[in-house]
């Protein structure tokens, strides 16, 4: 794990923030809004300028899996990179980095979210839950094993988080709803049959409660 107090964490960024990078991902608009709240009259453009001025690493506290982590991060750093590189929570994977594949799915305040679509600073004050928080006997994990819903396994944690969130919210879901609800994730090896069987078993059990 990278110690945020080590010299390996940059204290300032001499080259200035790259706006395209800062605004990458669908979370960018939200980020701008969030940062603009201290100045109610600011437009989005003003907020961006303001962000460039504050491109230096900032002290932030992230609540991940029920534990507070104090970190020094530039505003442009994504939640995904923070989780993986700073907190060594590598269950969420960096696959597309463009909010398409779902391999980095985590829960933010209980809602399944692509971690590559959020800046870490947006998540201050929110509860981030990663796959590492699941208990060893978690029914979704057990269901994935039972139905052989992994091959290379690289998309699997993201799928497990998406499945968990979907099945918790949709007891009694139909096959069509499962297929649609888990359509935000991509597997290359072709494990969809096992994943579908696992999800159907979970929603059927929960629906029968």
């Amino acid at each position: 794990m990278r110690d945020p107090r080590e010299e390996t964490i940059p204290q300032e960024n001499g080259s200035g923030v790259n706006r395209r990078d800062f605004l990458r991902g669908s979370g960018a608009a939200v980020a701008v809004t969030a940062l603009a709240t201290s100045d109610h009259g600011a437009t989005a453009q003003d907020a961006t300028k303001k962000n460039v001025a504050s491109a230096k690493a900032q002290d932030v506290t992230l609540r991940v899996n029920g534990k507070d982590h104090k970190l020094s991060l530039e505003p442009r750093v994504t939640l995904l990179d923070t989780l993986r590189d700073d907190l060594n929570l590598t269950g969420c994977k960096d696959v597309c980095d463009t909010t398409n594949c779902g391999a980095c799915t985590v829960l933010i305040d209980g809602k399944p979210t692509y971690a590559c679509s959020r800046l870490a600073i947006e998540c201050v004050g929110k509860k981030v839950t990663t796959i590492e928080s699941l208990a060893a006997n978690d029914p979704v994990v057990a269901g994935f094993v039972k139905h052989d819903a992994s091959q290379c396994g690289f998309c699997t944690p993201g799928f497990v988080m998406a499945t968990k969130a979907f099945c918790d919210k949709n007891p009694g879901a139909t096959l069509a709803q499962v297929r649609n609800g888990l359509g935000g994730n991509i597997c290359r090896c072709g494990t969809y049959v096992g994943i579908t069987a696992c999800a159907m078993e979970l929603v059927t059990k929960k629906g029968g409660k």
Binding site: R2, V141, P157, R188
Partner: protein, 721 residues
Amino acid sequence: MATELKVAWGPRKDNVYLGKEITRLDGIDKASGAAKYAADANPKGCLFAKVLSFKGGAGKVKSLDLSEALKVPGVKAVHAFVKEGDELQWDGALVAAVAAERQEQAEDGVRAIKFTFDAMEHFVDEDDLKGAEAAKRTKDLGNNTKGDVEAALKTAAVVHKGSYGIATISHMCLETHGSCTRWEDGKLIVNHSTQNVSGTPANFVSELQKQHNISVDAADVTVLCQFVGGGFGSKFAADDWGVAAAKMSKETGRPVRLMLDRATELKIAGTRPSGFADVTIAADKDGKIVAWDSHHWGTNGGMKGGTINLAQFPYVFDFDNRNRKATGLMTNAGPDRAWRAPPHPQLCALTDTAIDDIAAKLGKSAVDVFLANIDKTPEKLQATYVAEIKRAAELIGWSKKWHPHGKGGDGDIKRGLGMAIHTWGGRAHAGTCTVRINPDGSVESLSGTQDIGTGTRTTIAMVLAETFGITLDAVKVRYGSSVYPRSGPSGGSTTIGGTSGPNRRAAIAALGKLFDVVAEKHKVDGNSLKAKGGKIWSGDKEVCTWKAACGLLGQMGIETQGEGPKDDGLTSEQVGGVQMADVSVDIKTGIVRMNQFVAVQDCGLIVDLLTAKSQVYGGLIMGIAYSLTEVQILDNNTGRYINAALENYKLPRLGDIGELIVEMYQPDSEYERGVIGLGEPPVIACGAAISNAVANATGVRVPTIPLTPKRVLDALKAAKA
């Protein structure tokens, strides 16, 4: 007298594990996120590297200045892959790399690189044979003839001329290619995303010497890979970027993790060659094919001028009268790498489509025409094909659902059926292993193999548990390190035979030694002993428990070595396989939907039925991907790979695959064949089966796979005109 145990698989009915559905042993690690891949390696002090790749069709390096990159905060090392005057021959070719304290700083460094080039002529249109000839971008790959095609064409009942094609795709490993390298006391340790744990250290050694004049003994290089996020045939080498990481690691004294970005991954880390063919095919009135004449072309990228093998064309069927000719195109596209079952999916897509068209012309069902020509397939597979075709037809309801081509319904949604057949070798690769029986009764297997998601760890454990008559949890499988006894690369469906053979052999040898000790202690004939259910038996009489037997061994226990392949019947080669697709085609939008997809597949002795089926499901899904949506798109104007990202490189999602029906063909005669690989076969026939189903639905052949909505609409429009 020493116990002599025969090297063989046991009677099928006695098996406790083999052939059963056993969940994979690393399933929890994968599903809980605990599994660590090369991309997750993050040792203390790790630097993160990013590459600058070429953005253009072809160009000559005018200038490359990395000095500004080195000034960027956090940047610790830079590396140039090219120098002034070098030619970059495809989009994505590597220019430079930057290693920094954080990923975003490495990206800053890449942006600070000053790189200019002079554009050169490029050619990327892989299906344009005439254009390639005009641009002098072709290579004659030969031709040959069997029988007398001209004479056969004259007497044939029907002759069909058709054009077929299958486009280039990328491997799209979800874990991009890359590694995390570090030097400790002059020794190189690499967490490498690889299908080739045992073979890669030597590759690092030779490339470090050649490219960077860095000397290290192969004995001082360790490659580690417990998990790999997809390879599909593209991850066998150290690769230039891995070697660059090792070099930057040496320079900085820090670990360096360099994983390719998604776009570069798609452009340079492996593609499947394309193939296009003009085919003339002729049959008699019974559907027996009497003549085949083809000219095929395509590209394997990398300016190599290759395409799919002439010698394997037409696929599976060896017709009496045949002309064949091939031309390779030199395109400015990233070089190919082995893509699951090379080049069988392409061969099948260009062969079984033409057979389907001649069946349609005769007004016959494809099933009848394939069956009528089974005598032209390899003799040892003929009975298997017949059985598999009949079974697949039952499963999909062929006789009830089938209709002649173009009679797929009156509305805008047309429904149709298609089939195709395939073959693959799947012989065991060369491999060794060590098996240990410890005095406490625990058992270990050590080998420098890898589990690329096929379930190798699980199948090794099953083989040892079966051989020793113990439970799976008593077996520890150690793999994924080049320190262990060498094992072959996981490519070509060779691993199941390459690991189960040596492990069975080593385990039988170890069991013989254990029986010697038990025989002496208990005064019984070692040759009468059996290990089953955690006990040692002499005939029907229990001699002692497994643990008690192992307790007789003393501190050293037993250690044996296994190797393979051998001609002892444990493994063999060559499978068939049949697939049938049921699709719906919307003729207004061109969208093809999968209704059902049936696969009936043989693979000799099945070790783990659960993971075997998963291989077939996965093959079908990858097949649906390359049949319907997945394609490398190179832009003629710029020469660039314009869809090198997951939002535009379309893969199926959970709801796009329809219902998949997989049945393993496993009569006793298959069990008796021994173990044969399964990774490649199920991905082969998909393209032809789906294309044939679309042709059956609409009455129109969409020439080129993938059958994207535009291609479907274009074909329908052309047929009307």
